[in-house]
């Protein structure tokens, strides 16, 4: 019975902390994202990350990874969250874990080493115009034409899209009479439509793929739109070489939600530290403002929320990694709780800082912006609490 980290994991976390504190403090992060060449990924930064082996940390050794548990990744993500590190680490790991779980052995061998050694950046592209994390939200089509699948559609809000070399994409397979879905013929549009859903790999360089950046509040979390105009991919780019169905998509979404929530633990922790330090230093009416319960109690509440969604996030990661029966519920609880808590911490942090809190120069506003990015990604609190209610038997 041990709901905590091993000494090795703690040591790794400390090393990551020291590295980021010295090499990528927020000041440096600001320079990276403000640079005109930053288009979603910074080569220098990525090379450093790669040299430390983070992308492959939790991939099997057979595929070039370090073969560690997913929970070990938490100690890294907490640190990248603290310093708002602008890297496609989570996106790449998400794509890699999806391939590791659902890919055929030859797919794993083809794709994982490149993701593990960072020579390729991966990402998962889910959302479309309907902005829906549901089977109905998959409108991009895949049409088998001889030895190829032809893809058409547009994916939005794709994390790290501009820097990515490999996209893992859910599509709806349709039969060759254009535009009709595979099951349309049998008149059964119920659950079987879930089976129309498949996951495909798309190479950035494939003809018909175009990627455009999206300007967002949080410069450290770039997103983009990926347009697929009759993109032809070989049949072996079908993940698992079968129609994996909605449950595979849901698993990837859950993993994404859990990973960003683990990262959010670090962000909220850092925002709370910044604000607490300010509350100790700032004198008003003859006292540090942190002397007043009007300041101290909201900070205590954020601490309570932080520690609570930390527990939920740790468990969610563990549950996914161990295929625990309550893994979905665990993810929804963690992401829902964290979405609200981070939003609150961001607003309160800026507010308690007073005027300086929303100047460009002060760091606390960067966490406010991160909280806005964090809320909808992989499902907001409304989505996940409703899902939790359903999974909980309501």
């Amino acid at each position: 019975m041990n709901f905590g980290f091993t000494d090795d994991q703690r040591f790794l976390g400390e090393e990551v902390h020291k590295f980021l504190e010295s090499s990528y403090p927020l000041r440096t992060v600001r320079e990276v994202v403000d640079s005109p060449t930053f288009g979603g990924s910074d080569a220098t930064l990525w090379n450093r990350i790669v040299s430390l082996g983070w992308p492959g940390l939790c991939l099997s050794e057979a595929h070039g990874g370090a073969g560690l548990d997913l929970e070990t990744l938490i100690v890294v993500l907490e640190e990248t969250g603290r310093t708002l590190l602008p890297s496609p680490l989570i996106s790449t790991i998400l794509a890699a874990r999806a391939i590791e779980r659902f890919g055929t052995s030859s797919q794993r061998q083809s794709w994982l080493p490149g993701l593990a050694d960072g020579s390729r950046i991966g990402t998962f592209a889910m959302l479309e115009a309907g902005d829906s994390l549901s089977p109905a939200g998959v409108g991009t089509t895949g049409r088998v034409e001889g030895n190829a699948i032809v893809l058409s559609g547009e994916k939005r809000f794709v994390p790290d899209a501009v820097g990515a070399g490999l996209f893992v994409i859910p599509v709806r397979m349709v039969d060759e009479r254009a535009g009709r879905s595979a099951s349309a013929g049998n008149g059964d549009r119920g659950d079987s439509s879930l089976d129309e859903i498949a996951l495909v790999f798309v190479d950035r360089e494939a003809p018909g793929v175009s990627v455009s950046p999206l300007a967002g509040m949080d410069l450290t979390k770039p997103m983009g739109t990926v347009t697929l105009s009759d993109v032809r991919i070989p049949l072996d780019h079908l993940l698992g070489e079968t129609r994996l169905g909605w449950s595979a998509v849901e698993w990837i979404l859950d993993l994404g939600a859990a990973l960003v929530t683990a990262e959010a633990v670090g962000s909220v922790e850092a925002a709370l530290e910044l604000t607490t330090r300010f509350a100790k230093d700032r004198i008003q009416f003859g006292h540090p403002i942190g002397h007043f319960q009007g300041v101290k109690h909201p900070l205590a509440e954020i601490y309570v929320d932080l520690e609570s969604f930390r527990s939920l996030a740790y468990y969610a990661i563990w549950a996914i990694d161990h295929d625990a029966p309550d893994a979905k519920l665990a993810v929804s609880r963690a992401k829902a709780y964290a979405s609200d808590a981070f939003a609150q911490a961001g607003i309160l942090g800026v507010q308690l800082h007073g005027g300086v809190g929303y100047t460009w120069e002060y760091d606390i506003q960067l966490y406010l912006k991160r909280s806005k990015w964090f809320r909808p990604i992989f499902g907001d609190a409304d989505y996940h609490y409703e899902r939790a209610a359903r999974l909980g038997g309501l």
């Binding site: 100790k280 609880r333 709780y337």
Partner: protein, 407 residues
Amino acid sequence: MDFELTESERAFRDEVRAFLDENLREGAAESPAFLAEWTKKVRAKRWVGFSWPREVGGGGGSIMEQVILKDEMAKRKAPPLGTCMMGLAWVGPSIIQYGTEAQKQKYIPDILDGKYQWCTGYSEPDSGSDLASLKCRAVREGDDYVVTGQKIWTSLAMWAKKMILLVRTARAGEGAESGSPSGGAATDGAKRGAASKHSGITCLLVDMETPGITVRPIRNMTGSAHFAEVFFDGVRIPVENRLGDEGQGWQVTISALASERSSIAEVHGLVRKIDEVKALARETVRGGRRMSEDPGIRRRIAQAEAKIEAMRLNGMRFLTKQLRGEPLGAETSINKLHRAALEIGLGELALEILGSAGTLTGSEAPAVDEGRWARFALGWPDVVIGGGTPNIQKNIIAERILGLPKD
């Protein structure tokens, strides 16, 4: 991370489960005969005082075994382990650590056997959460302390035979204080540092039948009485009944026994409550709609469940720390705050699900479940106020964990 039990832990858990399978009967908890039998059996197992050392008659259970035992008991809604609740929770640990041999022999077996009830004389009318400012006075006269003053919020004082009592004693050179009017003493006390405020406090073990003690039950807003006021008018307590040294009373009441603090019992209680609320939402139809279909109710239930799950997991992180021998401090206030919010929130949720029917206290329709939901919704003060107010818990976190300056 590892949520598995070791082999010996699993063996212990299986032993507990087997015992429960054999001895627990559905609905039997209300039968006095069953309870008497049950108590004898768990005593024989040494599960009463399970965290206490075996040499005083306890179970010597490890932290992890304590968790397993509580967990299994709570999951199966088993009756309590032992009947002398206050004695097991508060008095026993203090006596084990600070008592004389004679005191241990006199009291510990009776607590384990549940011979009679204990109560705790800590809170006073003007002390509230600020326990250190207490004023109940004991003046040494020969071999007795003569106690005068008042205690309040004493659970079950009406039924208790003994009390563990905190008093303010005069020491050499402090005659002025014990002689000052009690109002002044409190104010003075508050102005001095915490260390000195605690230094005049002494702990006494009191027989409730001693002349000069008056118990007055406090009727709460639901009409029942759980607490009482206890008045002391020149009550003579033999010096041999002092627990620990003079002035050591503060430490005496803070147990350092290695008992688990994962709040598992509270979490099980809350899980049971939210399950009841969910069932209520499913069964209640208002305005033509099952309340479990109402999106607002669904969200609030899901939110409460997430919070309870967070408490459970927080508790496991605390437990992990304890198992590693790391000190557990102010972070336990996290779960106290959640619990306070949940106790209030679940009651409100039940009432909002029920509408007007929720306010009924009678036993016939349209009152639901014999009017229990009204009591359900008015029960939170026992927990929220009795366990230290949320404001105090927030101060603890802000000051001890975040390092913000004291008020």
